[in-house]
């Protein structure tokens, strides 16, 4: 067990290290470089000045050397400045992380609250009319483009009905405190959370259904029934507990997909989270910001996958390593 955990940990660190180089190289392949942008905004800079500046900052060196320089600076917590925000990148990232955490956390809670009961209901009536209807809706959920769903939600609930704000974080200029402030933020969260949740509700419902059906076929369920346990007891205690093992695992594994969805949702609703930060910094040639936020997102996703594997071993006593 310890050997397995250490092995997986080592592997995740290795993948992260590899990915950090890949991301560094990709960012270096983005159009232009920081000095080119300086030249654009300052016509007084001659080409010779630009070349000297590039040499000064090491931009003319080979990619491996530049990566190594970045890495040694990063080891001393120097991740550079964001070009767009004119602040250290870590300072910019902090609040963004909290915002994305809130958005994704709420979406996850909503998805589970719907997918669990619906998936179980569906699994207990396989191939019935309601099972078909649920499967259809779930498939529709994973087939709808998130950005289009967000667009439709904005058109219907923000533009036409004017019930909820079309985007942003909170009412600008509002001095609200305490409970009114929370209520205000909640209003801005409703549409993004719905847009982000639809796909994961669909996917999770299908997964819960499959996992429950698999478990309900097992011998120990038949035994539980035979000894006279009530249906509720069989379903909720014997079956659900076992089905949850794979559901928890898939939840942690789907973190990367959820993050991709969050990026689109945040961009659509101008929600100031990590996804929008990554998107804006790539589009705006904010190299330092793009680099660090992408690497951080990758690290988070890898960590959640590691967690999924560990959960599986921990929750299922039948699995031994």
């Amino acid at each position: 067990m310890t050997r397995y955990v250490v092995g997986r940990l080592f592997e995740s660190v290795l993948v992260l290290a590899l990915m950090s180089f890949v991301i560094y190289a990709l960012i270096a392949l983005m159009p232009g470089d920081p000095i080119d942008i300086m030249v654009q905004s300052n016509p007084d800079l001659t080409p010779e000045d630009a070349a000297r500046l590039k040499a000064l900052y090491g931009l003319d060196k080979p990619i491996f050397e530049r990566y190594w320089n970045w890495l040694t600076a990063a080891a001393e917590r120097d991740f550079g400045y964001s070009r767009i925000h004119s602040r250290p990148v870590l300072e910019v990232m902090g609040p963004r992380l909290a915002n994305t955490g809130l958005l994704m956390g709420l979406a996850l809670v909503l998805s589970l609250a719907i997918a669990l009961p619906v998936g179980i209901y569906s699994a207990l009536r396989p191939y019935s009319a309601s099972d078909y209807a649920i499967n259809f809706l779930a498939l529709a959920g994973i087939s709808v483009p998130v950005f289009w769903l967000a667009l439709m939600l904005i058109v219907i609930f923000a533009v036409t009905l004017n019930w909820l704000p079309a985007g942003g974080m909170e009412t600008i200029g509002s001095e609200a405190q305490g409970f009114t402030w929370m209520l205000d933020r909640a209003r801005y969260l409703v549409l993004p959370v719905i847009a982000l949740s639809v796909a994961s509700i669909g996917g999770l419902t299908r997964y819960v259904r499959a996992a429950m059906m698999e478990v309900m076929r097992q011998d120990y369920i038949r035994t539980a029934r035979a000894k006279g346990a009530s249906r509720a007891r069989v379903v909720l205690l014997h079956a659900l507990r076992n089905a949850m093992i794979s559901v928890v695992t898939i939840l942690a594994l789907s973190f990367g997909t959820l993050f991709s969805g969050a990026l689109v949702t945040e961009a659509m609703f101008s929600y100031l989270g990590m996804g929008k930060l990554i998107y804006d910094s790539i589009i705006g040639n904010d190299y330092n910001m793009a680099l660090v936020s992408l690497m951080f997102a990758t690290a988070l996703v890898l960590a959640s996958n590691l967690l999924a594997d560990l959960c599986y071993v921990w929750l299922d006593p039948r699995v031994h390593y």
């Binding site: 533009v159 961009a267 890898l302």
Partner: protein, 307 residues
């Protein structure tokens, strides 16, 4: 299984699969929808000629026109016929989606065959690679890949930014990440197939590894490949549309459903319908491919039929 078949009827396995598939009504409906979509997209020039419009002709006096006889769905922000644009966009979206799915399937099949047939260290390495790609936050990485300046990779600058390149680029970068499902399924199939007697027979006759993989294992692993490829088309079309929507995929003047929505979003107050049509078409295509994949999976899996 085979004895039972003889008792019931004389259907071959292929016929049984077809019969099971035909019973999956949603999947059959999906085939019809996809064929219809494909045909009308193919007929785009005919529709264009019939309506006597030009899909690229800008008519600034006739923007956001209401539906009429010559413009059945009205016109867009530059006065171009919306219906014909949607059909041409469908061509690009469908071709890009299918091409990406096929290339992904090819990569996945090669990786899956190598890992499953040879096993050992190669298998472990390839499967860790597969797991790592699955684990990555794909959309942010695809956005960086789409933002890469190809002239830094040695392409001539005018070619690197041409709209044609944007078509190939999106196919390539999505293929880079889209192969994982096929790889896993093919590996699983190859793992069991390599233990079968006919593989042993081929090996004892002196067949080489590549020959066994191509002639003996691949034909028997074709059904998981088809199922996984079909299921991945939906996802690939979604990725293509979101990248094009964000302005990083297929570039104008090529219309694609994704990039049509970019403009529609800006003009949502003037012409909300322009934002509805392309999205509905993406939705319909993706859901049809997903149902089709579902139906194929059920048809190939006899266990799913204890109804």
């Amino acid at each position: 299984m085979s004895a039972q078949n003889i008792n019931i009827s004389y259907s071959s396995p292929t016929q049984l699969i077809l019969l099971r598939f035909l019973r999956h009504r949603a999947a059959v409906a999906s085939v019809l929808v996809l064929v219809a979509l494909g045909l009308v997209a193919l007929a785009a020039p005919l529709v264009e000629a019939f309506l006597n419009v030009d899909s690229n002709e800008v008519d600034l006096l006739n923007i956001f026109a209401a539906p009429s006889a010559s413009n059945p769905l009205g016109t867009d922000e530059l006065g171009r016929d919306e219906l014909v644009r949607l059909l041409y966009g469908g061509r690009v979206s469908l071709v890009a989606g299918l091409a990406t799915a096929l290339i992904s399937a090819l990569i996945g099949t090669v990786i899956g065959l190598l890992a499953g047939y040879y096993g050992g260290l190669l298998d472990r390495l390839l499967m860790r690679l597969t797991d790592s790609v699955i684990a990555l936050p794909l959309l942010p990485l695809l956005i960086v890949l789409a933002a890469v300046d190809l002239s830094k990779l040695g392409l001539p600058p005018d070619l690197a930014t041409s709209p044609e390149i944007s078509l190939y680029r999106i196919v390539v970068i999505i293929s880079l990440v889209g192969w994982t499902t096929v790889a896993r399924l093919v590996r699983g199939a190859a793992l069991t197939l390599r233990e079968r007697d006919f593989v042993l027979a081929a090996r004892s006759l002196g067949a080489s590894g590549p020959r066994i993989m191509l002639r003996h294992i691949l034909p028997n692993a074709i059904s998981p490949i088809i199922v996984a490829t079909t299921l991945s088309v939906g996802n690939i079309i979604l990725l293509e549309s979101v990248l094009s929507f964000l302005g990083l995929g297929i570039q104008p003047p090529f219309a694609s459903w994704g990039n049509m929505l970019t403009v529609a979003q800006e003009k949502i107050y003037e012409a909300p319908m322009l934002a509805i049509y392309p999205g509905l078409l993406i939705f319909a295509t993706v859901i049809a491919f997903n149902f089709l994949g579902d139906g194929l999976q059920d048809a190939h899996d006899p266990r799913a039929h204890d109804r």
